[in-house]
């Protein structure tokens, strides 16, 4: 009987201890679902308070995140959510917070400045946003103040919509052989250059729509060995602007991971174009584009939506040239906030450090996406 009691006690105590260990110091798999918080989340330091806020945001616990803010009386929970995910449909709307970092900037006994960097996972790849939070001591714990970006005030206005649009009417099923069709738009590659990078071979180039109709374009490249054997085939994927209006030029970048240029004898380029319905709107202006030198070489600037419609997602493609006008790199960035009419939106395209010193000029194009587009 004594043994039995000892065994029962041992098992029960062991069970409780194991549960406590698993809760106070969760294993990584459990952290994935619970965040880095444990059973007794503490806001005893400014960093812990911001970290707890990051956990709540990553778990989508908006109400708890909002409640933890010191300045929550200054805005509503909805405004807080929209500040993080956007007021209009955009890349962040359905994104998940993949991870976050907290870095102290400044601290005193009663307040501190912390930098919260949020790494979002969007359908178009990772997106990063940074907020500097003021954290204050409230009694025995710390509470962060959220620096809310107020919703951009778009004045009520009526904008006449008279943009150009192309539609395509295809032959009906009853039309006979030999009846005239409409040809694919004429496009041509106006520049092309293979580059060896550490990750593999990259083909850089530019494509021009040489026609008077809009074109849906892509570029496929095949690396061939010196004996003419195909080594690899890749296409431009999203490193191109796929819809080109007449006389519009897009850069393109084709990535061949793990390939080496020395083993390549020739490259076969296959531009593809087809006729698609398209609209000349929206016109997006690129303002104050500026090449920032190394370190952290980049192209920064602002996008200005000149049309009356909201652009949900914008893709900025920068082409970088050397002094002789040759393409040396192509970079891109997706804007994870909707572009509102006449409201500037900053962009930043990173340039590889080793190429930055060769860059002397750039050319930037923007392509856009609006939800609910038609066929």
């Amino acid at each position: 009987m004594k043994n039995g009691i000892l065994l029962a006690a041992a098992l029960i105590i062991a069970t409780v201890v194991l549960i406590v260990i698993g809760t106070v110091k969760p294993i990584p798999s459990a952290e994935h679902f619970a965040g880095e918080q444990n059973l007794l989340p503490s806001s005893s330091t400014p960093e812990a308070a911001v970290r707890n806020l990051g956990d709540e945001i990553s778990l989508g616990h908006w109400a708890r995140a909002y409640d933890s803010l010191a300045n929550k009386t200054q805005f509503s929970e909805d405004e807080f959510i929209h500040d993080l995910t956007g007021y209009y449909a955009n890349l962040r709307t359905d994104a998940t917070l993949n991870s976050f970092e907290v870095r102290p900037l400044h601290a005193t006994e009663n307040d501190a400045e912390m930098r919260l960097t949020l790494h979002w996972a969007t359908v178009l790849g990772p997106s990063e946003s940074t907020r500097d939070l003021h954290v204050t001591r409230v009694g025995d714990h710390w509470a962060p103040e959220w620096p809310l970006d107020k919703r951009p005030a778009v004045p009520p206005q009526v904008i006449p919509v008279n943009y150009l649009r192309w539609d395509v009417i295809y032959p009906g099923p009853g039309d006979d052989w030999g009846v005239q069709g409409v040809e694919a738009p004429h496009v041509r590659i106006v520049d092309m250059r293979p580059v060896q990078r550490a990750e593999g071979v990259v083909i850089l180039g530019e494509l021009l729509n040489d026609d008077v109709v809009p074109a849906y374009v892509s570029v496929t490249a095949t690396l061939q060995s010196k004996t003419g054997k195909a080594l690899a085939t890749e296409d431009s994927f999203d490193k191109i602007s796929h819809v080109l209006l007449p006389k519009q030029v897009t850069p393109f970048l084709i990535d061949f991971p793990d390939a080496t240029l020395s083993s390549v004898g020739s490259i076969r380029m296959s531009p593809f174009s087809t006729l698609v319905p398209a609209s000349a709107d929206p016109v997006i202006e690129i303002d104050n584009a500026h090449l920032n030198p190394a370190p952290d070489a980049s192209l920064s600037g602002e996008l200005m939506n000149e049309s009356g419609q909201i652009v949900n997602v914008a893709h900025v493609l920068g082409t970088f040239y050397d002094k002789s006008g040759q393409v040396v790199w192509i970079g891109d960035e997706y804007i994870d906030r909707a572009l509102l009419p006449q409201t500037p939106q900053a962009f930043l395209i990173h340039i590889p450090e080793d190429l930055a010193r060769n860059v002397s000029s750039q050319r930037t194009v923007v392509s856009s996406f609006e939800y609910g587009g038609v066929l």
Binding site: M1, L7, L11, T15, L18, F33, A34, S218, F237, H315
Partner: protein, 583 residues
Amino acid sequence: MLKPELTGESQRPIPMSFILLAAVIVHLPLLLMKLPLKSYDTNFHIFFASHYLHHWFDPWNTKWYAGFSQATYPPLPQQWVAVLSNLFGLDMAYMAVQFAAILLLVIGVYRFSRLWVGPRAASIAALASVFLGSESFLVYSAGQLGTTFAAPIYLNGLPFLFDWVRHGRGRSCLKATVLFAAAAAAHHATLLFGAFFFALPVLALALLDRENGARVSTSAFLARTIAIAVTVGVAIAFVLLPFWIALIHYPVTQTPIPHASRANYILSPQYGLSYFIVPYGALILALPFIFWRGSMVARLRPLLLGFWVAFLIGLGGTTPVGRVLLGRAFEVLTFERFSYWATLLALPFVGLLIAELVARYRTKAIVGLTALAAATCGLAVSWSTYHPADADQGLSVEPVAAWLNRDGHDQYRYVTLGFGNQIARLAVMTDASSVDGEWYSGRMLPELTSNGGGTLTSSKYFGKGGLDALRAILMHADHYGLKWVLVRDPSYDPLLAFAGWRPVDYLEDKTITIWSKDGAPPATPLNAPQIPPHWQGVMWGIFPFGSSILALLVILIPEKRRQKAREEYPVETGGLAPGRLAS
């Protein structure tokens, strides 16, 4: 010694016919309503079965992952579904096989419980299995046919293991071997972990009992144990040979995919509800009794320890035990099945507890326990409605399948986005091949295995890993002949638009958009090294299914007259008064 009237041993056991009738009454209507179709994995098993229906001797299935081997998953229940589908159709054949598993569980629990407790408590345990929350959870919410099919076979085999080790009866050795092989053919993990949770306690019981009745020497015990372990090992190695070959050549090394059963159920109480409260139900109330009685009665201690370990691992990430004991396998396994096994191990205790409660409180106990059983079963059955596998129940894949099957669309591969777990149903209906799928251990496409995403159709719910996998597969669309992306969730539209895909058609009142990639070549079969050779296909078609047929045949071999139940079931109490324990 316990007083017989208090342990309930003086009372008659519940007739097996009554228990089976209860199983029929509770589960048959639910299965006839095809309730499991709402679960996570039922359509997955039906998809596998549909392949066996058309390609019995060829486990290479080209409909998922541009081709994968079904020899990476034990085939027995799915092959039975395929066979019965000739009579009932695939859906009802699945229900029939699941129903058979439920009935077998009743018998298996009774037989297993008889090793530990008397006939009445064992019969109550069998009756409790009808209302077991974890069983209903796995059947109606998780759809784990393999686990729920293998466990009853395994439980039915364990008494033969005991009989062989304890008494050295050759027939029992044969029956145990064949049943264990059939259980492995249904679900390998059940046998693997069952060896620790179920077989080791049974062997320990045989060791503890070696002095009771016909004495067995320790050396004989060891020799018999080793003999049956080797025999079963060889049988399973042979029956599932293509499976082991695939596992050795292509071990599961892919990036782990998060699963909520690995969560800490206290820090993430929503998952605690799904993976602890629902499967255990009222059995939670019996936990103190299990620990107390299991500790006090020396003969029950092996069972308690088996239960305890399964219980702790079944808690997923709530304790570090699973991760410590299983290592990397912890990131691959899901843990609802461990809770299932834990509850099966708990049933003999539950039988004892109920027997004692009924003996003491009669009608009051019966009413209360019936209500608890009904609530446990009801919660687990209804969980698939309150917490459906697919929140969007309005999706009908028939028009999508019809679109893929016409005008040569099936010459190309496709992937869906936002279709939830309906992709298996779609795969059954269409002739086209997809690069997506729901059988993660069978996939070999590097774009999928190198990222921590699950199904492509639910990419965004797997965060960065899922979206990276989707992006990678779209980048290599030409390589796979991937031309169609069927989208039911517009949040993926920006990716497709910027990646060079164009919408070409709408289905279902424009709720599904079909995107196409210009210039994608028609799909060609992948010349994958994972394609099993023909001889393996023949083995796969004959031996797993044959093991179940053999099991049915050897069960018909008559048993010699059993010794008195008392000899197998010496009641040891440690001088405890059960009335006090139960209170």
